[in-house]
Symmetry: C3
Subunit: 319 residues, 3 copies
Amino acid sequence: MRSFAGRDILSLKDFERNEFFRVFEIAEKLEPIARNRKNTDLLKEKTLVTAFYQPSTRTRLAHEAAMIRLGGQVTGFSDAKNTRAGDFYLESIKDTVKMLEFYGDMIVMRHFQQGAPHEAAKWASIPVINGGDGWGEHPTQVLTDLYTVLREKGRIDGLKWLAVGDMRMRTMHSLGYALTQFDCPITFVSPPDMSLTDEFQDELKDFSLDYKIADHVEEAIADADVILVEPVVQPDYTKSRDERDADSDVGMTPDNYKITRELLSTKAKSDAILLHSLPRMDEIPVDVDITRWSRYWQEAFNGVVMRMALLALISGKME
Amino acid sequence: MRSFAGRDILSLKDFERNEFFRVFEIAEKLEPIARNRKNTDLLKEKTLVTAFYQPSTRTRLAHEAAMIRLGGQVTGFSDAKNTRAGDFYLESIKDTVKMLEFYGDMIVMRHFQQGAPHEAAKWASIPVINGGDGWGEHPTQVLTDLYTVLREKGRIDGLKWLAVGDMRMRTMHSLGYALTQFDCPITFVSPPDMSLTDEFQDELKDFSLDYKIADHVEEAIADADVILVEPVVQPDYTKSRDERDADSDVGMTPDNYKITRELLSTKAKSDAILLHSLPRMDEIPVDVDITRWSRYWQEAFNGVVMRMALLALISGKME
Amino acid sequence: MRSFAGRDILSLKDFERNEFFRVFEIAEKLEPIARNRKNTDLLKEKTLVTAFYQPSTRTRLAHEAAMIRLGGQVTGFSDAKNTRAGDFYLESIKDTVKMLEFYGDMIVMRHFQQGAPHEAAKWASIPVINGGDGWGEHPTQVLTDLYTVLREKGRIDGLKWLAVGDMRMRTMHSLGYALTQFDCPITFVSPPDMSLTDEFQDELKDFSLDYKIADHVEEAIADADVILVEPVVQPDYTKSRDERDADSDVGMTPDNYKITRELLSTKAKSDAILLHSLPRMDEIPVDVDITRWSRYWQEAFNGVVMRMALLALISGKME
């Protein structure tokens, strides 16, 4: 197995089966630090540089919190895209990265352009983590999802997945690539205009992933051990949440893509688990939160643990 | 007295008399750290999460500085409201907080909606500090004010207050609730359209607060030991400060609500103290800054000390 | 020599020759910390307050990274100007600084108004670093440039400079003042509407700086040991970088102010060094990056080292 020390985390297409398990093993070792809420000093000599060209709070803060729990420091920027007059908007990735590499020891980058973190990694002398790149990938999120499955179900292989959402999105790409390394049949459910691209399907076939496509969550939920949900509708940004809530008393998400308490109670396996990286619209109504299926808060906790594992590994502080 | 460990700081209506004094006692113990300008390590294992949905620099930075002086770490966001496309704008307080609680050990929240920090506290497994909620309350500011009075006058009971400003604002609410626990008569002076709400007056009467309402600062200044001032006019945001200053050579704040050097010299007690949480418009002209009455810089310093005390108490590191 | 402990870094007009060398000496001592990528604890009790009224990422992050490498903490704000509703926009420098001084132990300020950091220094009881003030000065950048020359050429005196760019800009002012303390003849090249102001030329003459003015880089490049370049064109902010690149395949910067690979190969000294504080437009095309002349990445690295030296000196931790 290749060493993680100094390595970029750009894509899950890069990942081999035993590398997944190494990451999960380290995460499990570091989990008590997060659980006990005590910052340690494993990375006390290290600095993480956050380079967020797109607004992101969950991914950015999970990385920051992970770094802090390990005793490291954080610097960087979180609003480059919104700052039209900002330096970064007009600068090439190369020029920006040739500067950022002197400000710390690892970079986590989110960018609106697919491939930007890969370009950054080409020029940086320090490891680059892909925090989400356009339609590309979101590897740290999917590592979090898989780790949550492992912790909640005790295993990954042999479980059936149902994924609901916009199949053109980066999370789905990382998920597809990841599952090619496991024995996990998956059914994808999305609105017709958000279906898997032909190109991506070709890739999945090349990797012999056992996948199906369906139109309605009901078609696949009975078999599913893991149900992963993402929004299929976008909020109306011209209205506040309150205005939107007041506008109508019916949900916006069509039933085909919605996981309700009733659906779970009548159709789902009693030990299936439900994941969502959040934020959500109404595709999972809030009354599901306290049911036996919901695991998205554990997933949020694991989001910090997973980033701790990755930062410890690529900094060479754990192997 | 209830323990402060793990407790939320949401409202001063919650506070009992002996709890105020416990907070002041801890503040006095920690003050030398701030005065000597040396970061310590009392909270070195802890992280504060800043959740600012409304722009605030003074409150946010005072909490950050306090955490840093105690050796703790800070992460979070400071601009959610301005970020229309931001995750937080469309997410319920519950969903946001169920994530934030994994990023640190205490949350300080400012929100444009009254009651939002209370909602957050309902869901969070870690303590929540109200950094100002809409028209609601601003408890940490008023604790700072009271501590400043204690430090500058040697006592709180038996002092007469004059409060000038917009009486519908959150600071005034916290002040009213706080003074119900002390022997402090107060006169409120505000423009007619900014007077105490009936609802709030009913509450103050229920608590038997000894308060009066007046139209002009001159009516109450002669008796006042403590003069607390807030702006009654809003700046013209379409103009820069220089443009506004150039526009007219007369002040914008009517004399009724203005504390001038001349007024202080001719009417105020010579040992009265003048508080302002800043920023100010022209309700206290700058030539007052060097007079015997001004204590707003001490108040700014105490703002850090008070947050140190609160963070040390709710984290359970001091009792 | 005056002590640096507690001193403001506002202008290079303040600097004496032996003070420059003291700063460079400290920088050289601290450089291994940055090179070895290990945060230390020299400033572990100290906090830097960043007060950026103008967007700046390079200057802000270089100061933050320097503070972190030395074990210190950072708090502050980075977007005051863009936040119209922000407290700072309507507050006087005095009021802001009388608050900021309680949040940390040193302030670095960038401001759109010339002289703002000087005003801040007048009121602050802690040292203030000028991170760029309007058309005024940018002392830490030029100290970085001079240190880069010293490291790359082994000396400063006796080298000939060519400076290209907008001569009304703050960096050029600091550069002019700095060179009056060394034996460094300089030629300034700029578009006619961006030439040295008469006022500034009078100052340079008072200091007996040996300077010339030219219209085209070709007139001065043959003699130059140090070529310092800044943009002379502003980007079209209504277009993304990609759109701008696509718009035309010819560069925007006129040949007079452009340092191409061909020009360097045919006209420049083979051991001349090329500096640019970045970001760049097309005044230095990317194919120059790998040539023998380019030193702007070293300059970026030295930007962190120089801020480490300044922070260590003004905090009194090194002498």
